[in-house]
C-alpha cells in the first residue's frame, strides 16, 4: 500500500476574502489513505473554515501555506474539480435547492463526473441510490424531496451522508455532521461511514466534531485540537477523552500565554 498522505495541509493561513479577518493561522495536517482524523475545538476556532478552504469555498482567501491532494495543488482547483478529484465535504449548514429532488441532484452530480458524451446509466443509478438509502435506513420517498428544502436539522445531516455514500469520495470532510443528531441517527451516520470504509479501505476522513460521543462509533486514528486557528495538540483517541474530561479551557489558557 502506498503510504504517502492523500491530504497534506502545510502552514495554512486563511481569512475572509475582501475583509481583514484572519482565521487560520498556520495549520499543519497530513492524512494518509484510510486514516480517520478528528478535529475538535471550541466554537469559532476555525474548524469550518479549514473544511471550506479544503473544499474551495470562494468566500475564503488563502494567505499562506499550501494544501495538496495526492501531491497536486488543491488550491489551484475549482470546487467542482476538487470534487471530481475525490474531495467531499459534508456541510455543517447544508444549502436548500428548491424544486430539485435529491435523486435529480445526485444524478446530475454523477453525470458531471462522466466524460462529455457519456450518459449515466439510469438503471444503475437507481439501483445504487436505493441500495444506499437502505443502508442509511431511509425511506424511498426521501429521494423525491427537494434538496434540504423544509428539512429538519437531522434530515439535512442524513442527506449529506446519503450524498457521500452515493458519490464515494476518496477524502470525506465531515463538518459537525453529528451535531443535533439523536443517538439513533448518530449510529446510522456512523454505519454509513464505516460501511464506506469497508468498501474502500483507502477512504480517508477528516471528522470535525464538538463531541467525543461520535468517536465511539467512528474510531479515529488521530485527534487534533484546534484553538484560535491553530492545531494546539495532536494525539491518539485518548486526546478526545481528555478533552471531554477537562474542556478546552486548559488549551485556551496555554495558547493565550
Amino acid at each position: 500500500m502506498d503510504d504517502s498522505p492523500i491530504l497534506v495541509v502545510k502552514a495554512l493561513e486563511a481569512g475572509v476574502a475582501d475583509e481583514d479577518i484572519d482565521i487560520l493561522k498556520g495549520v499543519d495536517l497530513a492524512i494518509r489513505p484510510g486514516e480517520i482524523h478528528a478535529v475538535m475545538g471550541p466554537n469559532g476556532s476555525g474548524k469550518s473554515t479549514l473544511a471550506k478552504v479544503i473544499a474551495g469555498h470562494p468566500e475564503y482567501e488563502v494567505t499562506g501555506g499550501s494544501v495538496g491532494l495526492r501531491g497536486e495543488d488543491l488550491l489551484e482547483m475549482e470546487p467542482d474539480e476538487r470534487a471530481q478529484a475525490g474531495v467531499f465535504m459534508a456541510f455543517q449548514y447544508p444549502v436548500e435547492i428548491p424544486g430539485v429532488s435529491i435523486a435529480n441532484f445526485l444524478r446530475t452530480a454523477l453525470q458531471s463526473r462522466l466524460e462529455d458524451g457519456e450518459e449515466l446509466d439510469l438503471f444503475d443509478f437507481q439501483e445504487l441510490l436505493m441500495e444506499r438509502m437502505e443502508l442509511l435506513d431511509m425511506d424511498v420517498a426521501f429521494a423525491q424531496r427537494p434538496v434540504n428544502d423544509g428539512f429538519s436539522g437531522g434530515e439535512k445531516k442524513r442527506n449529506e451522508i446519503l450524498q457521500m455514500a452515493v458519490l464515494k469520495p476518496a477524502l470525506a470532510v465531515m463538518d459537525e455532521t453529528d451535531s443535533g443528531l439523536d443517538i439513533d441517527a448518530l449510529q446510522v451516520v456512523a454505519r454509513g461511514v464505516n460501511t464506506l470504509r469497508d468498501e474502500d479501505p483507502e477512504m480517508s476522513v477528516l471528522l470535525i466534531t464538538h463531541y467525543q460521543r461520535i468517536l465511539n462509533h467512528i474510531v479515529p486514528d488521530r485527534v487534533h485540537v484546534m484553538v484560535d486557528g491553530r492545531i494546539v495538540e495532536s494525539g491518539g483517541p485518548e486526546v478526545a477523552l481528555e478533552l471531554e474530561a477537562q474542556g478546552y479551557e486548559e488549551y485556551r489558557k496555554a495558547h493565550a500565554a
Binding site: 467542482d80 474531495v87 456541510f91 435547492i97 430539485v100 446530475t108 454523477l110 458531471s112 427537494p146
Partner: protein
C-alpha cells in the same frame, strides 16, 4: 421582402447564426398598412363581405388608438411597423430543402434534442408534419367525435355560422390597439371546436394541423369548448423560431362553456429582434375550468397577459407562466383574472428569470366585480435574478368591489446564491451545470405541468443559456 434578408439571433444568446434565404413569397402586400392593404388580404383569402367589413372597422380603431404608454418600450415600434409587410403568402411548395439548412442550425436543433420532423418545420422546410400515420389516426378520432381542428381560414370557409357567432366576441377589435391591428390583418392560426361532452385524451397540437401556413405574424386562433367537454391544446416550441419578421401580434380567443375543462399550453422562443404583443383571453362559463400554461422566451419585448373572464358561477381560471429574459430582452408578462360571478376561483403563478441585462416584469390584474360573492383569487410571482445586472419588477393591480372576496398576493425575488452554487459545485457540477440546476428547480412547479417533451426541451434550453452566463 428583400431577397437576401439576414436572419439573426435565433433567440439563444450564445449562437447567433446569420442566415440568408432566397425564397420569394408568391404574394405580398406593400410595406406599411392602409385600407388597400386590408382589402387585398381579405380578397386573397376570398372572404365573405362581413369579414372584410370587420377588418376595415378594426383598421380604423387601430389607427385611432394611441400606442400604449405602459409596459415595455414601444418607441421604435412605429418605425418598425412602417417597414412591415402585413401579409405575405409563402410559396405553396417547400420553401427550401433540409439540405439547404445551414449546419449550425441543424446542430442547434440536435443539441436541443428536437425531433427530426419538428426540426424541419422550424427550419421552414415544409409545413406538413412528417408522421402522417400518427396524424391520420388522430384525425380519424377527432372526426368521429365531431371535433373541428382547422386552420382559421378553413374554419371561416367551412363553418361560417359557428365562426361568425364567436369570432371577436371574446376579444373585440376595440379591446386594445394590437387586438385591433390583428383584427384588421390577421392571417393563419387555428379554429377549434370541441362538441359538448367530448373528452380528448391526446392534446391537439398545432403541428398536426393540416394546411398550415407559416406561423403568421398576425395569427388568430378561435377555440370553442362545448359544454362538459375536456381538451388540451398545445402550440409552439422551445426551439428558437426562425423568422424574418420583427413583429408578432397574435389574438387567441377561447370560449369555455359550462362545466368544460380546457388547457392551452404555449411555449415560444422568439428571435431577439422581435416585438411580441399578444392578446389571449378565455371566457369561462359556469362550473368550467380554464388553464393557461404560458412560456415566453426570447424576443426584444414581449407583452402578454393571458386572461380568464370568470363569467359563470363556480368558474375557475388558472394562469401558469414562465418568462425568461436574456441579455437585452424585456418580458412584460403576467395574467388577468376577472371575477364576474359568485364563487369563482382563480390562481396565477408566475416565475421569471432574468439573465445578463434582461428584465422581467410581472404585470397582473385581479378584478372582482360587485356580486361575485365569495370569489377567491391567489397570485404568486417569483423572480430569479442570475446576474447583478439583471432586473425584475412587479406591477400587481388589484380591484375589488365585493366584500366577501378573498384575494392573496405574494411576490418573491431571489438571486442565485453563492452558497447554492458552491454547494452544487462541491458535488462536482461546473458552474453552468449548477446554475442550470438551480434555474430548473426554480421553474419546476410549472415545468412539471408541461408535456414531457416540452419539459425536456426547456431543460436543455436552460442548460444552453446558462453556459453563456458564466464568466
Amino acid at each position: 421582402m428583400p431577397s437576401n434578408e439576414v436572419i439573426q439571433g435565433l433567440g439563444l444568446d450564445d449562437y447567433k447564426f446569420g442566415f440568408v434565404t432566397d425564397s420569394e413569397p408568391v404574394f405580398k402586400t406593400r410595406p406599411g398598412l392602409d385600407e388597400e392593404v386590408v382589402r387585398q388580404i381579405s380578397a386573397r383569402k376570398d372572404e365573405p363581405e362581413w369579414m372584410l367589413k370587420r377588418r376595415l372597422k378594426a383598421l380604423r380603431i387601430y389607427q385611432a388608438k394611441p400606442m400604449p404608454q405602459w409596459g415595455g418600450d414601444l418607441s421604435e415600434l412605429e418605425e418598425t411597423l412602417s417597414r412591415t409587410y402585413f401579409y405575405s403568402k409563402p410559396q405553396e411548395q417547400m420553401e427550401r430543402s433540409w439540405d439547404d439548412v445551414p449546419e449550425n442550425i441543424k446542430q442547434t436543433f440536435e443539441r436541443l434534442g428536437i425531433p427530426e420532423a419538428e426540426r424541419k418545420i422550424l427550419a421552414g422546410v415544409g409545413a406538413q408534419y412528417d408522421s402522417e400515420m400518427v396524424y391520420h389516426s388522430l384525425k380519424e378520432e377527432w372526426e368521429s367525435k365531431g371535433v373541428i381542428f382547422d386552420s382559421i381560414e378553413d374554419g371561416l370557409k367551412n363553418h361560417p355560422e359557428l365562426f361568425r357567432k364567436h369570432f371577436g366576441t371574446v376579444i373585440p377589435a376595440a379591446d386594445n390597439k394590437f387586438a385591433a391591428l390583428n383584427s384588421a390583418v390577421w392571417s393563419g392560426g387555428s379554429f377549434v371546436y370541441i362538441p359538448p361532452g367530448v373528452q380528448l385524451e391526446t392534446p391537439l397540437q398545432a403541428y398536426f394541423r393540416v394546411n398550415q401556413e407559416r406561423l403568421g405574424q398576425f395569427e388568430r386562433t378561435l377555440i370553442i369548448a362545448g359544454e362538459g367537454s375536456r381538451a388540451h391544446y398545445i402550440e409552439g416550441c422551445t426551439a428558437p423560431v426562425y423568422s424574418t419578421d420583427s413583429f408578432h401580434s397574435g389574438v387567441i380567443e377561447i370560449v369555455v362553456n359550462r362545466d368544460a375543462y380546457f388547457r392551452y399550453t404555449t411555449i415560444q422562443n422568439w428571435s431577439n429582434n422581435m416585438y411580441n404583443l399578444v392578446t389571449q383571453r378565455a371566457l369561462v362559463q359556469q362550473g368550467a375550468h380554464m388553464e393557461w400554461l404560458d412560456g415566453n422566451l426570447g424576443s426584444k419585448l414581449t407583452m402578454k397577459y393571458p386572461s380568464c373572464y370568470l363569467m359563470g358561477e363556480g368558474a375557475h381560471g388558472e394562469i401558469l407562466s414562465i418568462a425568461y429574459a436574456g441579455d437585452g430582452q424585456h418580458q412584460d408578462t403576467g395574467g388577468k383574472v376577472i371575477h364576474v360571478a359568485p364563487r369563482t376561483t382563480s390562481s396565477i403563478v408566475s416565475k421569471s428569470i432574468s439573465k445578463g441585462t434582461g428584465r422581467a416584469s410581472y404585470r397582473g390584474l385581479c378584478k372582482v366585480y360587485d356580486g361575485a360573492s365569495n370569489a377567491r383569487s391567489n397570485v404568486e410571482c417569483d423572480a430569479l435574478l442570475i446576474n447583478e445586472t439583471s432586473r425584475t419588477d412587479t406591477f400587481p393591480y388589484i380591484e375589488i368591489d365585493e366584500k366577501s372576496a378573498t384575494v392573496g398576493h405574494e411576490a418573491t425575488v431571489s438571486k442565485v446564491g453563492d452558497e447554492q452554487l458552491f454547494y452544487l459545485m462541491s458535488r462536482g457540477m461546473d458552474e453552468a451545470e449548477a446554475m442550470a440546476l438551480i434555474v430548473r428547480g426554480f421553474i419546476e412547479p410549472i415545468a412539471k405541468e408541461l408535456p414531457l417533451e416540452y419539459a425536456v426541451e426547456l431543460n436543455r434550453l436552460i442548460e444552453l443559456e446558462m453556459e453563456g452566463s458564466v464568466g
